[in-house]
Structures are given as structure tokens and as C-alpha cells.
């Protein structure tokens, strides 16, 4: 077992608390700009995913695991296509739980 590099569940707002740390979030792909993907976070903030998988279609949801290197920017390590059917409000609630009352289960 290895719990040395956990990825924190974040939305746009919570990510600001974890600058430089490994985070995970889900964004809805808005557009591709060269090597970066611009997406909307589950709390309706615009995030830029550097090195994001450009294979994920626009309007699909994409999970990004990587390093938060700016208040609205992630340097992606792993991207997963979460399809077009994803409940953003549940994920947003999970981000709050995972960083609040149940932090000990995650970090």
C-alpha cells in the first residue's frame, strides 16, 4: 500500500487551497487550445488543463489528475473521459465532504 501521494478532490474554489499539490477534479470540456484544454469546473469556474487529453470531445466531462500550478490551472498527469452523463452537483458536494468532515478518509 502506498498513500504517499494522494490526489485531493477539488473544485475550482477548493483548488486554490492546494497550489502545487496533487489534485483531481472533473471539468466539462469547453474547447481545445493547442496543447491545453479549457473546461468548466463543477462550481462553474473556468479551468485550464495543460497537457490535457485532446481526445475527449467537447461537452464531455473529463477527470483530470495532476498538479495544481495556478489558481485556475492544472498540469495534467492522467485524464479520463467521464462521458456526457455526469452529475456535477454530486461531485461538487463530494469535494466539500472530502475536504471537510471526512478529510481523514481521503488524506
Amino acid at each position: 500500500m502506498d498513500t504517499s501521494s494522494p490526489a485531493v478532490f477539488v473544485n475550482g474554489e477548493i483548488m486554490k487551497l492546494y497550489m502545487g499539490r496533487r489534485v483531481r477534479t472533473v471539468v466539462q470540456v469547453v474547447r481545445n487550445e493547442g496543447g491545453a484544454v479549457v473546461g468548466q469546473s463543477t462550481d462553474n469556474q473556468q479551468l485550464t488543463v495543460k497537457g490535457g487529453a485532446t481526445s475527449v470531445p467537447v461537452t464531455h466531462f473529463m477527470e483530470v489528475i495532476g498538479i495544481a500550478d495556478g489558481p485556475q490551472s492544472i498540469r495534467a498527469e492522467i485524464c479520463s473521459d467521464f462521458g456526457s452523463n455526469f452529475d456535477t452537483s454530486s461531485y461538487n458536494g463530494l469535494c466539500k465532504l472530502a475536504n471537510g468532515q471526512f478529510k481523514n478518509l481521503f488524506l
Binding site: M1, D2, T3, S4, P6, A7, F9, R24, F61, E63, I65, I78, S80, F82, G83, N85, F86, D87, S90, Y91, G93, L94, L97, A98, Q101, F102, N104, L105, F106, L107
Partner: protein
Amino acid sequence: MLHPQFDQNSVSLFAGPGFMPSQPTQVADPSASPSKKGRSNLHQGIIPVTVKQIADAFASFGEKSNLKINGVDISIVRVLGLVTNKVERVTDVSFTIDDGTGKINFNRWINDASDTTELAPIQNGMYVRVHADLKGFQGNMCAYLISARPMNDFNDVVLHFIECAHTNLLTERVNTVTLTQGGIGSSIGQLTAPSQTPTHFSHSDGTYSAPFPGSTAYQASFPNQTNQAAYSYSSMDSSGNAMFSMVLEVFQDPSNLRHEHGLHIDDVIRKLGIPRNKILDAINYLVDVGHIYSTIDENHYKSAQNY
């Protein structure tokens, strides 16, 4: 998502459609005493956990005890995450799951071709739902794979972690109830009962999982009780005896012994401030054992001792 209600007695590892392990697993007597050591007293449901929870449980794992999460002995767990490092060998298949809270290695012995074909769709970089049996042995923890299925609906990822939090809440609540029951204190009246029925979560692929059903074992233990419930005559515990002694002391008070007809019940109630029915219980008991006796009518009693 459906949340069907199940009778507590029907909760078992094999409840619900679509889940039957190919490897034999231990099915223990569900009525086994929790104080018995060994694997026969393990919780028989599947507990959704994060890898962090497993790591914490393993850190406090003792050789002679079972793996515990929140004081609950656990065996079968559900983990959900990304597959990495899949290695297929002749004798076994192993892969690592990274669920964002940590990485854990799972192993599956290959007994026949069905084991290989079952795990063939699992590839690196894929999200899978894993059910596994955790065993500790000589300071190491082994996770033996029961089933691994690729995920179709990624809302299940969110649901899994919410279930981990929910199960954590249930087990914490059970521990609080256990401590309070052991105290038999005034806090019984203030404790609210946990949820009446176990909730089960159905997933898009038809599997069911049971959060800790033992929590419902405590639901019937909390009728409307107040502080004074501890003084119930029928319980005959140490608190009841204390009240009987108090009533007896009133009757044995020398100033009361002077009265030829003893004390009226209302006088005793006024002196002690305890409800009438409790006083009557005490008086009935004291009459039965012979400490007091009735005098001019059924409302007057006097101590049998003459100081």
C-alpha cells in the same frame, strides 16, 4: 439510484443480483458473538472503503486480531479506482488500484480459465470496481481479488466515495451507542436512535452492497426513556436499589418512626420528589422483603425496625 429496504436478517454477502464470487469465501454464522476472535465474527457485508482507510486499519492491525475500521472487523471491501501495473502470470494476476487516496495491490490466483477471462477486459488506465478479501499475515496485508469489473457510469465513482463517508458515519454511530449502553447513564435518554432500516445502494451494473447492518441492532434499544428509567423496579440494577434504599431511609428516619401509623405515601413523595409510580414500586418491594408494613390503610406504611 434505488435504495431498496431490506430486512436486517436477509442481509448477506450474496444478496442482490449479479454477484457470485468464483473463489470460495468464508460464510460465518451471523449470530456469532462479536467478542470471539477469529474470522467467524467478521462483518459479512461488503464495506466500501478508500485505500487510505485500509492503510490506516493496517497500521493499527495486530497479529491476533482482525483488521478493523472504526472498531468493526472487516473482511470484504469494495475499492474503486484506476488500474495500473497489471501483471499476468501463469499462476496469478495482479494489479494496482489507485483511487486517489492511495495505491493498493490486488492478487488473484488463477485456478481455471474462467479466472483469466474474467480479468481479461481489465487494462491499465481503466476505472474498475473491485471486491476483495483483506487478510493480514505475519505483518503483511494481502488483498485477494474476488471480482473486478470495468465501470460504465462514472457517477458511480462519486457514489462510491459518498458511500465510504456514509459507512464511516454508521460505524462511528455504532461505536457511540456501544459506549453509551455500557455506561447505563442518563445519556440513554438523550441519545437518538440510528436509522431504522439499513440502506442499500444499487449500482448501474446491478450489484448491491450493504453498509454495516449491525447498526440496526441498536435501533430497538431506545424506547422513550428518561433519566428516571434507570430507576425502573423491573430492571433491578444498582440504580434501582439506590432508590429503594432512599425510600427505606425515609421510613427508618427516627422522626418518622415516632408516628404510630407510619408515613403516608404522599409524605414520602413530597420528601423525595420522585414520581408516585416509582415510590409505589419501591414500597411494594420493601413490603415484599419485609422492611416495612402497612398500618391503618394501604396508604400508610411503617418501618419494621424499631430503633
